[in-house]
């Protein structure tokens, strides 16, 4: 039997709201994720944000913060701050530094430990994140392949964002500003769910344009984003025409 989704799905909820009353529902298993708690017969909200539901039975609260709370399975952008014999200490914008074992690379052995200097930007995956302990990272996927993980090129620039913006950049349908800019300009982008994204392009001006446009579009609604995008593309086009004339 499928559960009837709560009335508050996709709406803003605040701590204390009761989203479901279990006494009305028959034998069902629900999966509660971040921001929700079972209080006897009622499911209450613990974190302010939007309530989300995924069939058949998953509920969670999505909110946007400047700080990141590490959780297993996330793909994040980390910065190396120190090297130890066993691990690299990597900052992932969480409450504690994360450990990246020196052997967690594809084909990694004691003989070919990579040499990262302080300040290297990495795209890594969070393996485990228990509260109170330092999170553990890995540069391999489940099968032991490198996949896309590893060091990002030494060009480009890393911009900071909130966790909500990072999530919307990774969602499908894609973020309107990102999509619009992608059609006109050529650049590459790596987004970490911890509120960091890295942009690289041939010209520095493109990188700066894309990064600042995405950062500024966070506070705009969908309609405003489209208007902002149109204005931006017009100005790029006019600037492009001028430079080509010269």
């Amino acid at each position: 039997m499928e559960a009837k989704p709560s009335n508050l799905v996709d709406q803003l909820v605040v701590p204390g709201d009761v989203i479901l009353d279990l006494s009305n529902m028959a034998n069902q298993t629900l999966k509660l994720s971040g921001g929700l708690r079972q209080d006897g017969d009622s499911i209450c909200v613990m974190k302010a944000g939007k309530l989300r539901f995924m069939k058949p039975n998953k509920y969670w609260v999505e909110s946007s913060q400047k700080r990141y709370v590490p959780s297993a399975g996330d793909n994040v952008l980390g910065v190396v701050v120190d090297t130890k014999p066993e691990n690299f200490l990597v900052d992932i914008k969480g409450p504690a530094l994360a450990f990246l074992p020196v052997l967690s690379f594809e084909g990694g052995t004691r003989r070919n430990i990579p040499k990262f200097e302080v300040g290297t930007l990495l795209y890594v995956s969070v393996v485990s994140a228990n509260p109170g302990m330092n999170p553990e990272l890995s540069c391999m996927d489940v099968n032991g392949k490198a996949a896309e993980y590893g060091v990002l090129k030494e060009e480009g620039y890393m911009f900071e964002s909130s966790t909500g913006l990072a999530r919307s950049l990774l969602s499908s349908p894609p973020h309107p500003v990102l999509e619009g800019l992608g059609k006109k300009l050529s650049f590459e982008i790596a987004v970490g769910i911890n509120g960091r994204f890295w942009v690289n392009a041939l010209q520095s001006s493109t990188v700066i344009l894309v990064g600042n446009a995405i950062q500024k579009s966070e506070s705009l609604s969908l309609v405003q984003q489209k208007i902002y995008l149109e204005k931006l593309l017009k100005s790029i086009h006019s600037r492009g025409c001028k430079t080509s004339d010269q």
Partner: protein, 428 residues
Amino acid sequence: MEHRLANSLIMTVNEKKFIESALLSDIRVDGRRPFDYRNLTIRFGSEDGSAEVQLGQTQVIGFVTGQLSQPYRDRPNEGSFAIYTEFSPMADPSFEPGRPGETAIELGRIVDRGLRESRAVDTESLCVIAGKLVWSIRIDLHIIDNGGNLVDAANIAALAALSTFRRPECTLGGEDGQELIVHPPDEREPLSLILHHFPVAVTFGFIGKENTVVIDPTHYEEAVMGGSMTATLNTNGDVCAIQKAGGDAVSQTVIMQCLRIASVKAGDITSKIKDAVESYNTQRSLRKIKRHNPDQQGSSDVAKRHMERLTVGSDQSGIASQFNEHDKTNKRNSTLKGFSGGPASWDPYSKGVDGDALRTSLASRVAPVDKQKEESSQVNPETKSNPKSSETNSIALTHEVGLERKQSKSLKDAVKPKHKRRNKSNAS
């Protein structure tokens, strides 16, 4: 060790390289050109002498207070001012609460040197009784958010706060003419400080091996730059102070170029500060006019009559002379009676108010206040040699309480005679 690492700004290799390479094409990470300032907003608080400055992401609050104190022995007829900085830990993860660190002290020194060495604040006007009592001004600068270039923002906050600060007017009076009376703001309009000029600080950062110069660095650029220089200038073309503490060596031509750019920027910033201060002052005087209390019917009649007279232009000179007469009697009265000078004795429109009824109603309230004055004035000669501001404040407080009880105020209370014509043109 982890704690220490987490406190400092973590920069990636990419960021450093990118900032340098982007500067080669004359563009900065937030889209500015190398000699562009960020958006500057100056706001004022509800009290005189408090200003909040926002320069991009950087936010600084400046607060000016004044206190009566003894002067230094070698400068008996000059007041003093001191600058205190507080780097709030909420501004940056590397700021710790408690004693100010190196950057905090350096910032305080730069702002202090700009104001003191150039004699921007007129300290001689702060003297009340030579050798005994002077005003000591305290400027507090609180850093609320560190987005880079704290020095410039803090300097602007200090200048804006100093421009709007008002200190109470002091006169010598009392029975023997030696007693100091600090007039509360209700009775006498407080005076502003005399600022001869505005020393504006402009900070430059030197980034990369080619020593590319950027103005108003953000905190990312500050982490990457090899050296920085702060030049404090005013619009008259004087260089008030230069600060270059360590960092990369810079050639002479670069320094001269920086100073030329700084003088242009100083002019922009000075005009922005002056505009903001002017709009604050007009708002303040508008607020004072509206302070008229409509409770007493007599005073509302007074207001009507006042408005009628405002519209009739020919009466202007008549009113001015009438007010001047009453002002002289007012001064005489205030010195004789101490603080009991209220609207009844110097309100020029007292014809419109039933003076006797007003006086009897006031007398019943003024009497207990007068008794307190007598006691305090007896205490005063004893403590005259060591006047503490707490004493004068308590006198001012008791008087303020007394004034609040008196409800009859007219529009004339708020307006000084010399500003009258300007305010009339505003009102009409």
